[in-house]
Amino acid sequence: MTAAVEITGITKRFGDVVAVDNIDLTIADGEFFALLGPSGCGKTTTLRMIAGLEFPTQGSLKIFGDEVGTLPPNKRPVNTVFQNYALFPHLNALDNVAFGLKMQGVDKSTARKRALETIDLVQLTGMDARKPSELSGGQQQRVALARALVNQPKVLLLDEPLGALDLKLRQEMQGELKNLQQNLGVSFVFVTHDQEEALTMSDRMAVMNDGKLLQVGSPEEIYEHPANRFVADFIGQTNLLEGRVLDSETVCLANGAHVTGTSDLPMGTEVAVSLRPERAHLGPRDETHSRQAAVDGVVESVTYLGNARVYHVRFDWMVIEVREENRPGATLHEPGTPVSVSWDPSAVSVVAD
């Protein structure tokens, strides 16, 4: 099957600044794909290159097998939902949605009919005569979505589309976008800096930093097996226990303790053992740990989250976070209590820079 988007060796420079640094990326047809990274990592530039709003400095960019590298945006079978929507303020919702059809020369009555259908699809029935200024943020977002979808793009590009919405609306729209994508079967390429959004919505995701592509995979692969220290730290919460590789099965932590950690890095490499807060277990010091790694520490403080408690545990050389679900009968550890932090060796990953 032809890939929806195929990026090979793409680099984008703005003067001396390298915004995107030699990336390779393939996005399958019908896939919900997230481009994730901190601001300035090059994810938006990558999206804009797919849209045709920027041209790559070098490399190849194919959409369904056709090279589109320097084709202007109006010649590409993709549409974009812009950050802050970029709705035309002088046109009402209907004319905004019908704009793309009008430009393609679709006759007026068909354009109107299809625009109204799409307005129904995004649940804005009856709002077609309103100007963008007369719509709420969430409604504007839906108009922007309809304006792109009405053209039946082969790939829909979304640039932080939920960034301007409040939390409740955001979660609602996440579900709706996902449903819409599944029903339409169109590839969605979604740019976000919110790792939770990327994890919950995407089929696959790419993590970027400093213009480089660090890891591509399913949310599960990326959360469970981060490729490096940055990915481990950026996706979800984690504790990075510094150490050195001893052999392929063992890492020597900063305090000299040996813990199990599988890696294929050469001996002596500086690494970190990534321990997720929810995968560590707090227990009394005298507890015996069968086949488990354990480090002794003292509870420093506790943060109550409602559904869980986060303990800050002081080791000799650092403080780590341990998250315990707030189940009935869960043991409480007061600050000052000496504890032992233990974990299943298969629950950690060893990451290098």
Binding site: A51, G52, L53, P72, P73, N74, V78, N79, T80, F82, Q83, N84, A86, L87, F88, P89, H90, N92, L94, D95, A98, F99, G100, K102, M103, Q104, K108, A111, R112, A129, K131, R147, A148, N151
Partner: protein, 295 residues
Amino acid sequence: MSRLLNKTANKTAGSAVEPHGWTKGVLQANGWLVYAFFYAPILLLVIFSFSDSRNVGVWGGFTLDWYEGFVDSQQTQAALWNSVKIATVSTGISVVLGTMSALALERFKFRGKQVFDALLYLPIIIPDVTMAVMMLLFFAEFFDVLNAVFGTELRKGFSSIALSHIAFSISFVSVVVRARLAGMSSHLEEAALDLYATRWQAFRFVTFPQILPGILGGALLAMTISLDDVVITQFVTGPGWTTLPVYVFGLIRRGVTPLINAVSVVMLMASMTLVALSLLVERVRNVGTNQRRGF
């Protein structure tokens, strides 16, 4: 007691930053003074244009003779039409060029942009007389060269005045349109391109409607300045191309009569009509776009 009540009532009604008491009184008086300063001369001008006396400032009873004189005078008529023709042509051309330069400066990157930017506003800054002398020299040389090389018979007149007016109007149009463009997100144009519009269509259907108020404002400014200009026009004008302000200026030298008042009132009315028209256009446009329009 009642004064006290009044005071507290005032306090709760107005906001804390709003002036009250004697501060408010002084500020109000100042406001009225400023308006009087602005409009009293205009009022006097209008009143004495109806005065049946050759001396300005002496009321000799009501008459429309001066207006009749204005309408009957071949010279004033000719001057008026010269002004209108020059204003129309120079405004039309400077609006197109000014808008284009505003778009270039606001939306594109090119070599020498900053220099171009600074140079564009020079005509606003340099004194009229300097500009006038420059223009005079330029046209004298330029037309001589053209005539010598191409055998044309260009003389100072319509083209020299219109070109001078275009030269300074472009700057004014560009300033106004740029202000409007700066307030418009360039994402709108990108969205249009993304929705299959060509560059021209993106301008026609998105950028242009957005900056139209700026263009109209710039056009109005250019037209007003062109209709008003005495200094530059006087330097570059040629035989048969006396504009209305230049004509009025000439009349004063022959003695001040209420005829000047009448001419001035007509010019004043023309300016006010232009302003009213532009406000009206803006309002109609807003109402029009608020109504439901399918296509």
